[in-house]
Subunit: 422 residues, 2 copies
């Protein structure tokens, strides 16, 4: 991939006086519209990752990822806003109560609803949902993979049927880049095939090669196109290879060679044993460049996240805190609570007296249990907000311990605590 | 009914030195437990209604109702917290964003879930749901009436089957007072039969007489019992009589004669034409005492509420703002919006630029429409919060205009505006 910083220069054929040349080209050949001009003349491609502290006893790192929508301190957890909303939580609370620094959007879902026309007219997803910090969009690869019977995969891309109305659509590496440009994600993910677990070696090998060819097409398209809304976008490629060491190695080396702003590890947390996930993550992290952020997609439990951090992962996302929250599962510093259990019926202590969200001290366990038993919407709202605040606390606390130099010991104790059922 | 203010005196047989006498009685006869002592020795039964301004051109009034949980400026709308939560809204937002002064709880629902044992152990509904302002509970009469095939009504009370698990229960005037004492409502409603519409005259007449006999039993039980949690409770009787003028008159006169702290009008907004509801309300308001608050139960649309205020009603409750909100209907100063309509698809203006809730300026119409189309929980949350904030704005604005002396004219214009479909 062309080095980001060089992109604007390449486009206007002059590394020294970009603005003037572009202005000339507009006046003469009308090659660029005003939006593109604005984009090219500003100092874009600002995504920078600076590694601040590396833990001496593990591969954990504390870093800082700067984007045009603000700086993200890593390691970070990214709440999932599937269809443009983090389920059950006001966007003001995502920002000011949970204190999230970046959220996710799902390209597949947003493409279907509200559709690209609406998002474009809104001026991008940030304007549409009111979130003014960074957004990462997945490529739709994972959702399309989840459709199983409703999709057909070819060299060109994927033809699939909408889970909503059965209508037919196709995703290609090229149009998935265009779509994410249009959504306006700060971080765009490459189009990949997410292999299932377990997976036949030959299937995984062929799939991996296809994912790499798709990546090349993604990069080409990315380099040919520009951001639409006046801020920079970065493309992250995804390592695949199922649970096969040689394939993971091959993929990680290929991905590393492309010099992207950040790199992701996909195809894990799809049913394989945790130890296998850690083994693959470790192997891949040792190959991916140290000076770029590493994103472990779709992971995971609090313990998974702490192990991931320990292996050198900087970014995580998962639906667990919201989805399991909606089912009454609360993650806390002292373990996992199933709030629907009879044992909480008369527990009038607050939800979490060490919790960071306002919901933790506003409501009691007995009340929250009642809301779940009575199927009141507020129950899901409270549990989701609590869980996300806890996840954000967890990664911030991990960061503190990395900086303080005692991460490895803290992590071991914490994994036992957060994994316990209480 | 015994005049409220005299009740403590009656209980301790000494109007001049209540506390000392009670202390003696505890030491000697141990007639009172500490909780009752606290209750009797404090200056309870503080519910006072002061009429501040009466509109010269209508029967509208501005008043102030003081309770041990705070003062309510009337006319007021009371958000419905059926099972202990105002659906889809954090209790902190009910208080600080919607600025509600009083909320409702449903005795029938709370009796079934979480059940009386839990509420009592919590220390009452206020402690249970975190709401520290006044609460009014209905008596369960309306819900039991809604069960139709699943209940049997006798002189003694009602035997009914739970809508949740079919289990059998019975409500009597006495146990319904006990239940509301236990829930800890500031305002307790008498047990009544809510007649359907249309209703046979003889049925309505017999039902009315039963409701009056039940009221006597409610008052007796109320006078025999004490608040459980250290603050005063008031009992409001309910006028019935279906849509028959003579029955409504008879009922209103009977209810007025009982000297309660406040009086309610039930059995309306059950399917009868609006004009008939207004006629009955007018008739009843003219009989009920001027110096006590009047509560029109289960009403209604913004127009219904303005007409009700005009007829002399001080208090309203209705599920409309939350239930219709969950279906995508928004009430605004300029009319009614069905946010699911195609016309809002690309409307990127804020939900309500004159709205009082933070949701009104945080989200756009296009985004809210998208949330409803995609069935995202956040859509129901936003619409419910907007609608309740609008309802509270409406009654406060009515109060302002009553005080300013231009209510009648404002009301006529406002009814046209708020009833329009936009």
């Amino acid at each position: 991939m062309t080095e980001s910083k060089n992109k604007a220069a390449t486009s206007c054929s002059n590394t020294e006086s970009c603005c003037i040349d572009i202005e000339k080209s507009i006046c003469s050949a009308k090659l660029f519209n005003l939006c593109e001009l604005t984009y090219l003349c500003q100092n874009f491609y600002l995504m920078q990752f600076s590694l601040q502290v590396s833990d001496p006893k593990s591969s954990a790192r504390a870093g800082e990822l700067s984007t045009d929508h603000g700086t993200i301190q890593t390691p970070i957890f990214m709440p999932v806003g599937t269809i443009g909303s983090v389920k059950g939580i006001h966007i003001s609370d995502v920002k000011n109560d949970i204190n999230a620094d970046i959220i996710l959007g799902n390209t597949y879902h947003l493409y279907l609803r509200p559709g690209l026309e609406v998002i474009e007219q809104a001026g991008g997803l940030h304007k549409f949902n009111g979130w003014d910090k960074p957004i990462l969009t997945d490529s739709g690869g994972y959702q399309v993979y989840s459709l199983s019977e409703r999709r057909k995969l070819t060299e060109e891309g994927v033809v699939f049927q909408s889970h909503i109305d059965g209508s037919r659509h196709n995703f290609t590496p090229e149009n998935v880049i265009d779509t994410q440009r249009l959504i306006g994600a700060d971080i765009i993910m490459a189009f990949d095939e997410c292999t299932p677990y377990p997976c036949d070696y030959n299937y995984a090998k062929n799939s991996l090669e296809l994912t790499h060819r798709w990546l090349d097409r993604c990069i080409t398209r990315f380099d040919e196109t520009h951001p639409k809304y006046g801020y920079a976008q970065s493309l992250f490629p995804i390592v695949q290879g199922s649970t096969f060491k040689d394939l993971r190695k091959q993929s990680a080396e290929y991905i590393a060679s492309r010099g992207a702003d950040g790199n992701a590890i996909g195809g894990l947390s799809v049913g394989e044993p945790h130890e296998m996930m850690y083994e693959m993550t470790d192997l891949v992290c040792n190959i991916l460049p140290k000076d770029k952020p590493r994103y472990l997609m779709g992971v995971g439990t609090p313990a998974n996240i702490l192990e991931g951090i320990s292996l050198g992962v900087d970014m995580f996302d998962c639906v667990l805190p919201t989805r399991n929250g909606r089912n009454g599962m609360l993650f806390t510093k002292n373990g996992i609570i199933n709030i629907k259990n009879e044992k909480w019926k008369n527990d009038f202590t607050v939800i979490d007296n060490e919790g960071d969200s306002f919901v933790d001290s506003l409501y009691t366990k007995a009340y929250l249990r009642h809301l779940f038993v009575a199927k009141e919407m507020l129950g899901s709202m409270i549990a989701s907000q609590h869980n996300l605040a806890f996840y954000l606390w967890l990664v911030r606390e991990a960061r503190k311990h990395i900086i303080d130099g005692d991460f490895a010991g803290w992590k071991e104790k914490m994994i036992i605590k957060v994994s316990k059922r209480i």
